[in-house]
Amino acid sequence: MLEKLMNMDRRLIFILVAVVVIIPTLIPIRLPTRVSEPAQKLYDYIEELPPGETIMLAFDYGPSSLAEPEPMAKAVLRHCFNKGVNVIGVTLYANMPTLAHGLMQKIAAENDAIYGEDYIFLGYRPGALQVILGMGNNIASVFETDYSGTAIHEIPMMKNIKNYDQIALLLDLAAGSSTEAWIVYANTRYGLKIAAGVTGVIIAQMYPFLQTGQLVGLMPGYLGATEYEKLLNAPGDGTVGLNTASFVHVLLIGLVLLGNIAFFIHRRREE
């Protein structure tokens, strides 16, 4: 019996997980959330920017991990468009341009933002390091044209923007090690301010940079998206998702506890 419990068929666990995700997706609930300091800092930084300032949004994730950064991107874009802060989109991931471009267009249309005046999407260039460094000297030396092929110097929003000196913040939405690269090369070399919105896997790695101020703010995964949505007072995908995630978390904690209880009883018996 105990043996069986300890080596439960994994497919049974799969079914449990599926059920616990499907039910709250069908019947959504809302639980109260509170906002942590790193997300608050990012929000405050953008909130205090005067209209007409420009931030850069780096979509440094692939379609595989879009679940967490996408709600963050939506929330920040809404915030910027409503505040009149301009946004330059860019990506270091080859499998990302279509998705990022589509997302920016969609949120812009919802908020009456105009391409070329309120936001642009530069697209992708191979070689993350060279792109980060090259834009520090001159954005046009890397992106002579935007994603659709319009020359950068013909875009009204880019008239007074040459390099990082005219950019108030870079927000890196990351699913890999891109944030470290932005910190080491754009912040250290060119003094560009960096903030990050990262997937769950890499949240813990970001904290040393947050304490030194190398990161202005941080959105930690689903939680970060939810917190930002709360600050904007506009619950979205993040909030819905995190509430659903509550149930899976409870299930997982239950499973770990059960597994360990079985393990201890087993070990006691063997002794």
């Binding site: 300890m6 080596n7 439960m8 994994r10 666990i13 799969f14 997980v17 599926a18 995700v21 639980l31 109260p32 959330t33 509170r34 942590s36 300091e37 379609p63 991990s65 879009l66 679940a67 499998n95 341009p97 279509t98 998705l99 589509g102 260039r125 191979p126 070689g127 390091l129 060279q130 792109v131 090259g134 000297n137 001159n138 030396s141 890397v142 994603y147 949240i203 813990a204 790695q205 904290y207 040393p208 939680l223 995190l242 509430n243 995630a245 509550s246 149930f247 899976v248 978390h249 409870v250 299930l251 997982l252 904690i253 499973l255 770990v256 059960l258 597994g259 360990n260 393990f263 201890f264």
Partner: protein, 216 residues
């Protein structure tokens, strides 16, 4: 020429970049911009390596009729459709975008979402408090997990309402991330960075040559 040439180029580019980091003179800044330009132009060509390796692998499979070789044909079909439409018409062509949005993105996202199931089964079957270290890891993981979701604070504020600390679950999570996590990560960063710098020094000076691959 097979080894000396690349080693010399590696040295030259490495030293040029170090030099330009310390020299603000306009001549060295021009050099710096030029070197970055070279890097930008060379990088796209590196894709050749990945594509050639992939094609070779699947051709060998088809030729040798290894198990499941038929699926390699599927790889070629997928690639051919994308390339034949995408190269002449560009990535903003509506068929390319349709394939990307309805084939590539959902499969990529689904493939990764399998991990949610595996992490659950691993949590049940493998995460046992066998040693002191594993126990510490497990306990921390549980606190962070419960602090990450709103149900954590809800449970804390209802069940443990007699404790004079509101939202204890998320506060505990934040403390763990802010203090002990930060300390250990910083230790790792310092060590790894020393490793990166020392490897870079060895590469520039030609002591570390493994990137040249085997052979003469």
């Amino acid at each position: 020429m097979k080894r000396q040439g690349p080693l010399a180029l590696c040295f030259l580019f490495g030293i040029a970049l170090i030099f330009t980091q310390f020299s603000p003179h306009s001549v060295s800044q021009k050099l710096y911009e030029e070197v970055i330009d070279w890097g930008l132009i060379i990088t796209p060509f590196a894709l050749v390596l990945a594509v050639v390796t992939l094609i070779e692998t699947h051709i060998t499979r088809v030729r040798r009729r290894t198990e499941h070789w038929q699926y390699s044909l599927v790889v070629f079909v997928g690639m051919a459709v994308m390339v034949l439409i995408g190269i002449p018409f560009g990535p903003q062509n509506s068929i390319v975008e349709w394939l990307y949005n309805n084939v590539q993105v959902p499969m990529d996202a689904t493939m990764f979402s399998l991990l949610a199931f595996f992490i659950a089964s691993a949590a049940y079957r493998a995460f046992r408090a066998r040693t002191f270290e594993a126990t510490l890891l497990l306990v921390t993981a549980m606190i962070v997990m419960i602090g990450n979701v709103p149900v954590g604070d809800l449970a804390w504020n209802t069940v443990l309402s007699w404790i004079p600390l509101e939202d204890g679950a998320s506060k505990a999570r934040q403390w763990i991330l802010d203090i002990p996590n930060l300390a250990s990560r910083r230790g790792i960063i310092l060590g790894v960075s020393l490793g990166v710098i020392s490897q870079s020094i060895r590469i520039i000076l030609g002591i570390e040559r493994s990137y040249l691959g085997g052979g003469d």
